[in-house]
């Protein structure tokens, strides 16, 4: 079963801006899916169409088999949306915001209360339930957005840059919670600028560029498909490094050197070659996040 099935979605805004140029992408039920793209690539437009905030110019979209145009109410019932920007009333209390959102999905306050309590507790907001939302810190507001999106227990959670501007500790907390949600069966689609987040959380991803999906697949297969990867080695001395043949060495300092491996070269081969040259390795780390490399290569192509 596909949680999201989008075919040839196009969107041209009244201003003439072409935001989507025939996007086709699918997300399987239970997946944790990353949608990557530079600013203005079309991520938020795509999410807007799925959630009913943006009207597509053409194309079709289905959420768990429900057409977003002809079976709009059923499709909406499946989705919980966490938008990029805070969009709750700053004058309302946390609890009231959740109860109103449940009401819009046809759940009475009485029926919504037990689950809302669980979600607020999970997200560390239970003690703040009677406070107006404007009194919350930035991180708490972000968590309130997640709590609001979950109050009707959606099968699909869509998060648009959920950890933007969130401190490290809170980000880790959110990662744990989202992972738990996903393990419990909630399908998650997430956009983010933090590529380590995608590498850590997502099983599949799509990269969108200028309104088109330019790459899609599992995170592991896409990373394996990369042509080169670069590491920084900390060594006892770089004096003998130049004698090692068959590897591409880059920036060199007395005790560190960059080395780029081709797709067919393994780290074992590198270590063996350095050992023969009497270079002792103390430490090794990727020069950059691999997904970051993949992302940059893709959007610059």
């Amino acid at each position: 079963m596909r949680a999201i099935d989008v075919q040839q979605l196009q969107k041209t805004y009244a201003s003439g801006t072409v935001a989507l140029k025939g996007v086709t992408v699918s997300v399987e039920q239970g997946d944790f899916f990353g949608l990557l793209g530079a600013n203005g690539a079309g991520k938020t437009t795509l999410i807007g169409i799925l959630s009913g905030l943006v009207t597509p110019t053409s194309g079709t979209g289905k959420i768990f088999g429900f057409d977003i145009d002809t079976q709009r109410d059923d499709a909406k019932q499946q989705i919980g949306i966490v938008p990029q920007e805070f969009n709750f009333s700053i004058f309302e209390k946390v609890w009231d915001i959740l109860m109103a959102q449940a009401g819009y999905y046809g759940i009475s306050a009485k029926d919504a209360a037990p689950h809302a309590e669980v979600v607020l507790n999970k997200l560390g907001l239970w003690e703040k339930r009677n406070q107006p939302s404007r009194a919350l810190s930035g991180g708490m507001k972000r968590r309130l957005m997640i709590a609001r999106a979950l109050v009707h227990q959606p099968k699909l959670l869509i998060l648009d840059e959920p950890t933007a501007g969130v401190d490290v500790e809170l980000r880790y907390g959110m990662w744990e919670y989202l992972t738990e949600l996903n393990k419990n069966g909630t399908t998650i689609l997430m956009t983010t600028h933090y590529l380590e987040e995608v590498e850590r959380l997502c099983r599949n991803l799509a990269i969108i560029k200028n309104g088109e999906i330019v790459k899609t697949g599992s995170v592991s297969s896409l990373l394996q498909g990369m042509d080169v990867r670069t590491y920084v080695l900390t060594v006892d001395s770089t004096a003998n490094v130049a004698t090692v043949k068959g590897f591409e060495f880059g920036a060199m300092e007395p005790a560190s050197v960059e080395v780029t491996l081709r797709k067919e070269q393994s780290l074992g081969e590198l270590f063996d070659a350095l050992k023969i040259a009497h270079v002792q390795i103390f430490d090794i780390r990727p020069q950059e996040n691999r997904l970051e490399r993949l992302f940059l290569d893709t959007i610059r192509a």
Binding site: Y13, A14, T45, G48, S51, G52, L53, V54, T55, R72, D73, D74, K76, Q77, I79, I81, P83, E85, N87, F88, S89, I90, F91, D96, M99, A100, Q101, G103, Y104, Y105, G106, I107, S108, R148, H152
Partner: protein, 256 residues
């Protein structure tokens, strides 16, 4: 469309609207009471004592129904236009748009909120008027019917204003340049029949004339047959509803 879901959604919007105007009662309920009290004192008391009877009743008794209607009109209109525009401005309208709430239900929820505020402000002004005059109830049906139709028409008009507005200036522009002149020229302070024929004809194009006239009929006999005014207001509310519903369906100002 699941009726239970839509009914709960409707109640949620209404409850949110009522909570909003009750929470900020100093901005929503108190000002009309003070303003209309001043009208009672200045026009009804000081100036009214210099004016002969109109339609067989003292001037104060003549203006009370119109002043109550003014409160209903402004309360209903301002509630929906400001609330709806604020939710657009703060983008929390998206809370409703992402949920399976039908446009008709969304419209009904906001309009009901406006009607309730219109009723409440009208009732408060009526209570204040009792300090100055004891109006006789002549036709309770007319009072209920015209309060409802007036609040309905101006709640829908407020929704249209909120939908079209792109800034807070746009919200106040309609009130200042259209609503206020129409209200003051709507026969609140004078009988339309006393106008020269040409001005009387022009005034008959103003829907507020029918609202005030029909509501006044509930307290003071006379005026036009109420079915004429009621029919005009029913048609007007149907037309405005149709426009508002179409705009909501198209997502005017709320969907990209």
């Amino acid at each position: 469309m699941n009726k239970t879901i839509q009914w709960i959604a409707y109640k949620t919007i209404v409850s949110k609207e009522v909570n909003r105007f009750m929470r900020i009662w100093r901005q929503t309920l108190l000002p009309p009471v003070i303003t209309q009290s001043l009208y009672f004192v200045i026009f009804g008391g000081f100036i009214g004592s210099q004016v002969r009877q109109i339609n067989g009743v003292p001037y104060m008794a003549f203006i009370v129904p119109g002043l109550i209607m003014m409160a209903v009109i402004n309360g209903a209109f301002a509630n929906v236009s400001s609330s709806f525009y604020s939710t657009k401005f703060q983008r929390n309208i998206e809370e409703i748009l992402v949920a399976p709430v039908h446009e008709a239900v969304m419209m009904a929820g906001y309009v009901t909120g406006g009607i309730l505020r219109g009723f409440l402000t009208g009732a408060l002004v009526f209570l204040v008027s009792l300090v100055f005059v004891r109006p006789a109830i002549h036709d309770i049906v007319a009072i209920i019917l015209f309060s409802f139709l007036t609040a309905l028409v101006f709640s829908i008009a407020g929704l249209l204003n909120g939908l079209w507005a792109e800034s807070f200036d746009d919200v106040s522009t309609f009130q200042t340049f259209i609503l206020v002149p129409l209200t003051y020229l709507g026969g609140v302070f004078y009988p339309i029949d006393s106008l020269p024929p040409i001005w009387k004809t022009i005034s008959m194009l103003n829907p507020i004339v029918y609202m005030v006239d029909g509501f006044r009929h509930g307290f003071v006999s006379g005026g036009q047959p109420i079915w004429i005014g009621a029919s005009i207001l029913i048609v007007l509310s149907a037309v405005l509803s149709g426009i508002a519903y179409t705009l909501l369906r198209k997502g005017k100002g709320i969907r990209s």
